[in-house]
Symmetry: C2
Subunit: 172 residues, 2 copies
């Protein structure tokens, strides 16, 4: 499961790692919360919708974007609140959580840590063999995170092999 | 209920608003998480301990510190994740959440938005009529937040009267 966290729009995706670098699309969606609601109502909405998604797709692991202190303070903090909420949803189910920075995701998916949204969306579309690009951008980013994790954790595509980089990507 | 959020140490308190400016101490504590655990384990610990506290004290409302982008990035983000988790604990129980900046708390409790920890602890001790200062600082800060909220929401000390400033302090 890949999540591009946000309070107003939160991209969520499920993919299935195949052999080698093949990744199969399973589902993608966007959780939206109402900006006129209280912060607590919005975070609860996200928590419940993440739970529903996990109930439906039973993910083995969660890849989520690491939040940095860039951009508007309140937006960054709101996103960081949402990340905490989403991580706890995973922790309650014993689903391990892996965090990736935007540039790690871009680099893994497109080979370039500074790729723009269009390039990332094009690569996601190609890798997953989709008939058309996923929309909105949050959905494409959630898929990119999931693909990034599949490729960064090669044991998924093999048969239980150990990857030395694996534990390093499980952040504290 | 007042919470001074943090991933490693999280101050928690319960007070009872009395008549006028009187505030009675009920309980105070600190949730600690193990720095050698995964972020997800630590956030889940916080979530469960906040739930236990709420089960025991049935708070009517939650006052929590608003996180700013000061200090070490990872610490700020960890605290912001914890805040999201704690807010959802309140939201699940329909407990309204109010956020205050450190300077709002200091100003409300000591009259000075730049008061140091010692001054805040001294005022908390006096207001609550404690025999000795609450320790550690996170515990004192959690009490200061609760007192701040009691004083900023005068309807608590009266008999159900409306306070025009009330809704303004319930942040989005």
């Amino acid at each position: 499961m890949g999540v591009d966290p946000g309070l107003t729009r939160c991209g969520i995706s499920t993919v299935q790692a195949g052999r080698g670098r093949s990744v199969l699309p399973v589902a993608v969606g966007v959780i939206r919360t109402d900006a006129s609601d209280d912060l607590s109502t919005r975070l609860l909405d996200i928590s419940m919708k993440i739970d529903e998604w996990m109930d439906e797709y039973h993910p083995d692991m969660l890849a989520i974007e690491r939040v940095f202190e860039r951009g508007v303070v309140s937006t960054v903090m709101h996103t960081a609140h949402a990340v905490g909420v989403i991580i706890v949803c995973a922790a309650r189910r014993d689903i391990p959580v892996y965090m990736y920075t935007p540039s790690e995701v871009k680099k893994a998916v497109s080979g370039n840590g500074r790729a723009d949204k269009k390039q990332v969306t094009a690569m996601v579309t190609r890798v997953l063999g989709l008939a058309e690009p996923p929309r909105p951008a949050d959905a494409a980013d959630a898929l990119a995170l999931a693909i990034c994790h599949c490729w960064r954790a090669p044991m998924l595509g093999l048969s239980g092999g150990q990857n030395p980089g694996w534990s390093a990507s499980r952040h504290k």
